[in-house]
């Protein structure tokens, strides 16, 4: 503890690092907490701060991240490392130029982003994607708290559209080096064969790095909801509506729409519903809005999966609904708070 204190104090004194002050401040604050006290009322405040809030989101992602390392080995670690390094660079540059503190939100984006990538993604694409996501998904809107779209999804969407060949057909079989062009969803779409549910749960089917081990995701999701960092309404409505829409759809159009449990356990649904749709900044804050958001995401996902050229619909449906978030809240508030006659 003392050596770290001395080291930080020393770094502060180096003149060349003056420009890097936001970085040092962030390190200092993360290591040693705050010496500030409340100014006025209330005289006491809750223990939680954004550091702890975001750490809990990261802790919830850890099981999925560990599973990705288990299934895809060193490559997964590299991808995560590149994502953090490249994203932090953009975040840091913005902090220096716009003279604000480094906000902790990036730490979550930096981990979510690699986990939704195929394990074969070249590292330079990882870097491009995360930088695009942080830059155009968050910073240009004014930084944390003001962004409209989930930054990790913006990055993912960008590289999917920019490099479709690499991003949609290069999958890797877990625990082997074999490259396959198909995921369970695309196999169902083309051949009508369903992967066994147990394999899907454990994660031995190909897919994005962190999305395949569904048990880890469910554990993380439960932790997130227990700690109140993630709200239960969106994931429950999202997954529930996918289930119901698929149940009805499969009944009438069995050749087009996959059965409900299969839909729930494939693709990025669980990961998206637990960790991306719940992003508080980009989802509605009102309770009614959350229900509407979750249900709409679910129906869109089933529609895109079944009727569009894309086999996966989670990413698109969340981004589309992100765009409607301000409108949803606006309408909910219109109903909840009637204008006052003066």
């Amino acid at each position: 503890m003392k050596p770290i204190r001395l080291l930080i104090d020393k770094l502060y004194k180096i003149r060349a690092l003056n420009k890097a002050k936001p970085m040092l401040d962030a390190m200092d604050a993360a290591m040693f907490g705050t010496d500030e006290t409340t100014r006025g009322k209330p005289h006491i405040v809750d223990t939680i701060d954004t550091k702890r809030y975001m750490s809990c989101a990261i802790a919830a992602l850890v099981p999925a991240a560990l599973a990705s390392v288990y299934f895809y080995g060193f490559r997964a670690i590299m991808i995560i490392a590149v994502s953090y390094a490249a994203g932090l660079f953009v975040e840091f540059m913005f902090a220096v130029i716009r003279k604000h503190k480094i906000h902790e939100g990036f730490l979550v984006t930096g981990l979510i982003f690699p986990l939704v990538l195929p394990p074969t993604t070249p590292l330079w694409i990882v870097a491009v994607g995360v930088m695009f996501g942080v830059f155009f998904g968050k910073e240009v809107f004014g930084g944390t708290g003001r962004n409209i779209f989930n930054p990790a999804l913006v990055g993912r969407l960008f590289i999917t559209i920019a490099f479709p060949a690499i991003m949609t057909t290069n999958w890797q079989d877990p625990l082997t080096d074999a490259i396959t062009s198909a995921t369970p969803l695309s196999v169902y779409n083309s051949e009508g064969i369903m992967a066994p549910y147990l394999d899907l749960l454990i994660g031995t089917q190909p897919g994005s790095m962190g999305e395949t081990c569904r048990i880890a995701i469910i554990l993380g999701g439960i932790f997130l909801m227990f700690t109140r960092v993630g709200n239960w309404r969106i994931p429950v409505c999202y997954i529930g509506s996918v289930f119901i829409a698929a149940l009805a759809g499969n009944h009438f159009l069995p050749e087009k729409i996959a059965p409900p449990l299969f839909q729930v356990l494939t693709g990025g649904l669980l990961f998206g519903a637990m960790f991306m749709a719940t992003d508080p900044v980009t989802s509605p804050f009102s309770k009614a809005g959350k229900y509407f958001f979750g249900i709409s995401c679910g129906i869109l996902t089933v529609l895109i999966r079944s009727f569009s050229a894309n086999v996966e619909g989670v990413m698109f449906s969340i981004v589309i609904m992100n765009a409607f978030t301000p409108l949803i809240d606006y309408i909910v508030l219109k109903f909840k708070f009637r204008p006052v006659k003066i």
């Binding site: 209330p42 005289h43 809030y53 708290g145 700690t227 109140r228 960092v229 508080p280 804050f285 708070f337």
Partner: protein
């Protein structure tokens, strides 16, 4: 008659905080000098009727004005008036009388009191309560037929007795009501019932105080105008704005006083003062105050003469090794007592001393947090059940983090006791958008309980922003909407300074 259970789904329960007051009661000695502010509790400031050099007795009225909405103020000690001068008290300039005490502890009793209070008429009871000063207790005073409240005793439809301590630190009801005081409380209720003939009485008690609830229920079994309710303590249940909708199932006229809808809310100590005034002839010259918080070495309940300097109350009991912040009544909404020579008045219940914790902590954000409180369940103290004494939560003024932008976590919205959306209002006020949208978002419903600021992970003073928004609205000429209530005595409320 049995106690009815009522629940409150919003708000926040502060559990297992360190520094709760101990179970003992001590009478502290008479201070050498008291400073009596001439505005205490509900009502306007009253003009002094003594001058420097006058000899006064404890219990003697030293300031009164029967015309304005106010209650008389008494000397709390036997002695001599030294000076009458303007002081800054609780943020306003008011007159205060300084009295040098001779150290004796007897006091002058009120004229016309009777231990056989049944023989007194309602008018006599009202007069005793008014003259004792007890009429200024509660947020809107006790109507006595004099000008102690804005309405008359006949206008009171409901009386609520507030016995649920929902603050972080609370005065112990058990200490307040033992040694026969419970009987005084019951008699006090009956006295009030005789005065406020048209009123139904509602007594709210802490759910966990089972014995107290049974005893009160037994004592009041033969009467039918008393309803007893048990509630789980959840901050801010002691606010009229929160308690009235729960107990009476009617809306509170936000921006006005409960008296405007014929409801009076009193705490248990106020009822005891009523008993003392009417049956014992004791004017309001003494309060029971609990010392709370980790800044005190010992935390007894103290019988304190009104006007005693805070110094006199806290000295010898406060810790010397730490810098402390003294606060009156509430860690969330109470004024910081920066000047310890200022006096204790009728409105004091607790004096809280919190350590000013400026110490930095290695990896503070990652600590397990067995002893930390959080609305979120991100610390391990969330795993322990109510009332477990294994880990008492620490309580200091540390900010526990740095200010950050709002991330729409909706914690403030979930705890808000009046169901407005604090973070939404904050965004409007922060961007200086002050218009009728704020009115329709019910900004005037805010009761300034500061719970939103307490739970905020981004350490934003949400409550302060909302307060600012209200002030700016008023400056721009907007008015708090009266919302179609039938309100009594609004003019009188507005005439109050």
């Amino acid at each position: 008659m049995t106690a009815k259970h009522k629940s409150f789904s919003r708000g926040y329960a502060f559990k297992n905080f360190e520094g709760q007051p101990q179970d003992n009661f001590l009478q502290i000695n008479i201070p050498e000098k008291v400073i009596i502010p001439l505005k205490q509790g509900f009502g306007d400031e009253v003009p002094p009727i003594v001058k420097p050099g006058d000899k006064v007795a404890a219990g003697q009225i030293i300031a009164r004005d029967d015309e304005s909405v106010s209650s008389p103020v008494h000397s709390s000690v036997n002695g001599k008036v030294i000076q009458v001068e303007q002081v800054n008290y609780s943020g306003r300039e008011i007159n205060a009388v300084t009295i040098e005490s001779d150290g004796t502890d007897d006091f002058q009793k009120l004229d016309g009191f009777s231990s056989e209070w049944e023989n007194l008429s309602a008018e006599q009871i009202g007069r005793l309560i008014y003259l004792s000063g007890a009429g200024s207790l509660g947020k809107s005073g006790i109507p006595t037929g004099f000008n102690s409240s804005i309405i008359s005793p006949r206008d009171v439809e409901n009386v609520i007795i507030q016995g649920v301590g929902s603050e972080v630190h609370n005065l112990s009801l058990e200490v307040l009501l033992r040694d026969g005081h419970l009987w005084h409380f019951i008699v006090g209720l009956k006295i009030l019932k005789k005065l406020l003939t048209n009123a139904a009485f509602h007594i709210a008690l802490d759910k966990s105080a089972k014995n107290l609830i049974t005893e009160v229920t037994d004592f009041l079994a033969d009467t039918d105008s008393f309803g007893i309710y048990s509630l789980k303590p959840k901050y801010p249940l002691d606010y009229d704005e929160v308690l009235i909708p729960i107990l009476l199932d009617r809306e509170f006229p936000h921006g006005f006083s409960s008296a405007n809808i014929g409801v009076i809310v009193l705490d248990i100590q106020a009822v005891l003062h009523v008993y003392e005034a009417v049956a014992q002839g004791k004017p309001l010259i003494e309060r029971t105050i609990a010392l709370c918080g980790g800044g005190f070495r010992e935390r007894p309940h103290l019988g304190v003469r009104i006007g005693s300097p805070i110094e006199h109350v806290v000295k010898d009991r406060a810790r010397q090794d730490k810098e402390l912040r003294f606060i009156r009544n509430s860690s969330l909404t109470g004024e910081a007592l920066s000047d310890l020579s200022s006096p204790v008045d009728r409105t004091f219940n607790t004096i809280i001393a919190l350590p000013e914790d400026t110490e930095r902590e290695f990896l503070a954000f990652a600590r397990p947090g067995f002893k930390r409180d959080s609305y979120s369940r991100t610390v391990l103290s969330a795993l322990f059940k109510d009332g477990s004494d294994t880990f008492q939560k620490t309580c200091s003024t540390n900010l526990h983090g740095e200010e950050r932008p709002c991330i729409f976590c909706t914690f403030c919205e979930n705890v808000c006791p009046v169901a407005i959306i604090p973070h939404h209002l904050f965004h409007y006020v922060e961007r200086d958008v002050i218009d009728e949208t704020l009115l329709s978002l019910k900004i005037f419903n805010c009761i300034e309980c500061n719970l939103c600021s307490y739970v905020c992970p981004s350490k934003i003073s949400v409550g302060q922003y909302i307060k600012q928004g209200k002030q700016k609205l008023l400056e721009e000429g907007f008015e708090c909407p009266s919302g179609g209530f039938e309100l009594k005595a609004v003019e009188k409320l507005k005439s109050l300074k």
